[in-house]
């Protein structure tokens, strides 16, 4: 059994990653998680300038899920490179910075600065954050913009380029195809769904930002369906996420067509989940006679 996978010609030792925004810059979980067991660590989205994020509160639990409206709070790309990346030098797993800009120029500028470091294994491009409403962030809903942006970033880096898709669109396949046409090495889906909770005591939205992004087991069926559809629209690998808590959940994504998966909200519930999921995937492969992740893709037409 060999659970390694390739994205853009580069190898990930196993298909289990931790999702952007749920694992900070990595160091926060250092004391709880053995990073060498992780296939990839996707960092919190980095923007060109530092951002303090949205108004509080930023989090609320929902049935089998949660809403967040963090608003891409982060230290900005320069401090990310000088302060955060070095902490991960010894992490022993693939580091995949996740980046977002408000304009194409910003995306490109961030990527150029990161290219100066040897630490990133590749990049995940966030074109889909529902918690920031400014212009640039509608990128993810417009195929032409996605293709143009991807092509621009493709010219900057030879490292794997992963475009992260939003489910808040009429046709996610069109966006995925645009990413592929632009030269992406993979797409990851899904980011969060737009949601809202109102406190009936105060009669106000709970989140300072009014709406937030829904994640967790509640959205897993949406994630699996998205991967299933996207996989049938593109030839590049698909990275699946949304509500994965157990190996069984991850295997659903593989069967739907994912080549790798990420765990997001699950890290909050139990930081041991990535390791447990990887162990469970191995057991399943052994039991079912699967030799590679590719073997999962033959069962559903």
């Amino acid at each position: 059994m060999d659970l390694s996978i390739y994205i853009g010609g580069k190898k990930l030792v196993n298909p289990v990653g931790v999702a952007s925004g749920t694992f900070g810059y990595g160091s926060e979980y250092e004391k709880l998680v053995d990073f060498t067991g992780l296939g990839a660590l996707y960092t919190k989205t980095v923007t060109l300038k530092s951002r303090s994020g949205n108004k509080c509160p930023r989090i609320i639990e929902t049935p089998s899920g949660m809403l967040n409206s963090i608003g891409l709070a982060n230290v900005g790309v320069d401090r990310f490179i000088s302060e955060k990346l070095p902490l991960l030098e010894q992490a022993g797993c693939a580091l995949i910075p996740n980046i977002a800009g408000f304009t194409e120029y910003e995306y490109a500028a961030i990527l150029k600065r990161l290219e100066a470091s040897h630490l990133p294994w590749g990049y995940e491009i966030n074109i889909s954050c529902p918690n920031v409403s400014h212009g640039g962030f509608t990128f993810g809903t417009n195929p032409a913009m996605v293709e143009h942006l991807t092509a621009k970033l493709r010219r900057i880096t030879e490292k794997p380029l992963i475009i992260k898709l939003t489910p808040n669109v009429t046709d996610i396949r069109g966006i995925a195809q645009a990413a592929e046409n632009g030269g992406a090495d993979a797409v990851s889906c899904i980011n969060t769904l737009v949601g809202m909770v109102i406190d009936t005591k105060t009669k106000k939205p709970v989140l300072g930002n009014i709406t937030g992004g829904l994640s967790g087991p509640a959205i897993r069926p949406v994630g699996v369906a998205s991967v299933y559809r996207v996989k049938r629209a593109v030839t590049i690998p698909v990275i699946g996420l949304g509500g994965i808590m157990t190996a069984d959940d991850a295997i659903q994504y593989f069967l739907a067509g994912a080549s790798a998966i990420q765990i997001g909200t699950g890290n909050f519930v139990d930081p041991g989940i990535p390791q447990k999921v990887l162990a469970g995937i191995k057991d399943y492969c052994e039991h079912e006679g699967m030799k590679t992740i590719g073997d999962f893709h033959q069962f559903i037409e």
Binding site: G24, G53, I59, E61, S64, M245, T265, F268, V269, D270
Partner: protein, 267 residues
């Protein structure tokens, strides 16, 4: 900070809707002798743990609770919690002998006051736990202090006999002083307040009132803050509160839960 399966050694009601959960980080029986079981760093008052209360997805997120005590010899720690929703309801059903998944100790803590300072601890409702623990530390350091506890009514007041110098306030006057802890504070004479330092934990309006009082008399004032949490370890940026410029937002789970009241952008 560690993640462990802690063994429940006690879980008893101490007042209406209030419970005290005692647990130890004795390894579960299936931990082989060869397996190294993590030592829990000594928790400090103000620090907290997060508990995964259920294996299902409802409730989903871990629930944070402050330490209300710790006995280094027995390795037993406790929390005091209010049964208020789904998670604490499940918690109230845990029996001695069961194991709970906890992560901790988390956050910063209440520091030993300097010489000359006269600590006054002000607790309201679920703010009781961390200040009880702090009070026991002060006793250990032989620092005399006043403990003020506020509750809506007598039924919500647990037994406080372990405290040397305690003032109980109830909104309806059914026990102790009739009025809020802020009303109680306002009865102090200005000169009594010299070198007084406030340590406050409780509902937001109470903390605001304490901050106002501290500002008026120019007292040092520490508050233990709460915010809804997801990760509890500083990774998600979810539990922020607003500080005065230039600090901006601070994570309650990491930069807090203890803040200087004058650093907070009270609204």
């Amino acid at each position: 900070m560690k993640q462990i399966q802690a063994k429940v050694t006690g879980n008893n009601q101490i007042a209406k809707d209030y419970y005290k959960l005692v647990f130890s980080w004795e390894p579960p029986p299936d931990t082989g002798p060869g397996d190294s079981y993590p030592d829990f760093p000594n928790p400090q008052p103000g620090q907290f743990i997060t508990i995964r209360v259920s294996e299902t997805t409802v409730p989903l997120l871990r629930r944070p609770f402050a330490f209300s005590g710790y006995n280094a010899e027995t390795g037993e720690a406790s929390i005091i919690y209010l049964k208020r929703g789904k998670g604490t309801e499940i918690l109230a059903g845990k029996c001695p002998g069961e194991y709970i998944d906890i992560i901790g100790p988390l956050g910063n803590y209440l520091k030993k006051p300097e010489n000359k300072q006269k600590p006054v601890l002000v607790a309201g409702g679920i703010g009781l736990g961390p200040l009880l623990y702090f009070s026991s530390m002060l006793d250990q350091w032989q620092i005399p202090h006043l403990f003020i506890f506020g509750a809506r009514t007598a039924r919500y007041v647990p037994d406080m006999n372990s405290l040397k110098n305690v003032a109980i306030c109830t909104d309806d006057g059914s026990k102790g002083f009739a009025g809020t802890v802020a009303d109680f504070l306002n009865n102090f004479e200005e000169k009594e307040l010299e070198h007084t330092m406030l340590y406050c934990c409780g509902p937001l309006p109470m903390l605001k009132a304490c901050h106002g009082f501290a500002t008026e008399y120019d007292l040092e004032c520490y508050v233990v803050m709460e915010q809804i949490m997801a990760c509890g370890v500083g990774a998600c940026m979810g539990c922020t509160i607003k500080l005065k410029k230039p600090q901006g937002y601070a994570r309650v789970c990491t930069e807090g839960p203890v803040f200087k009241s004058r650093d907070i952008a009270w609204t």
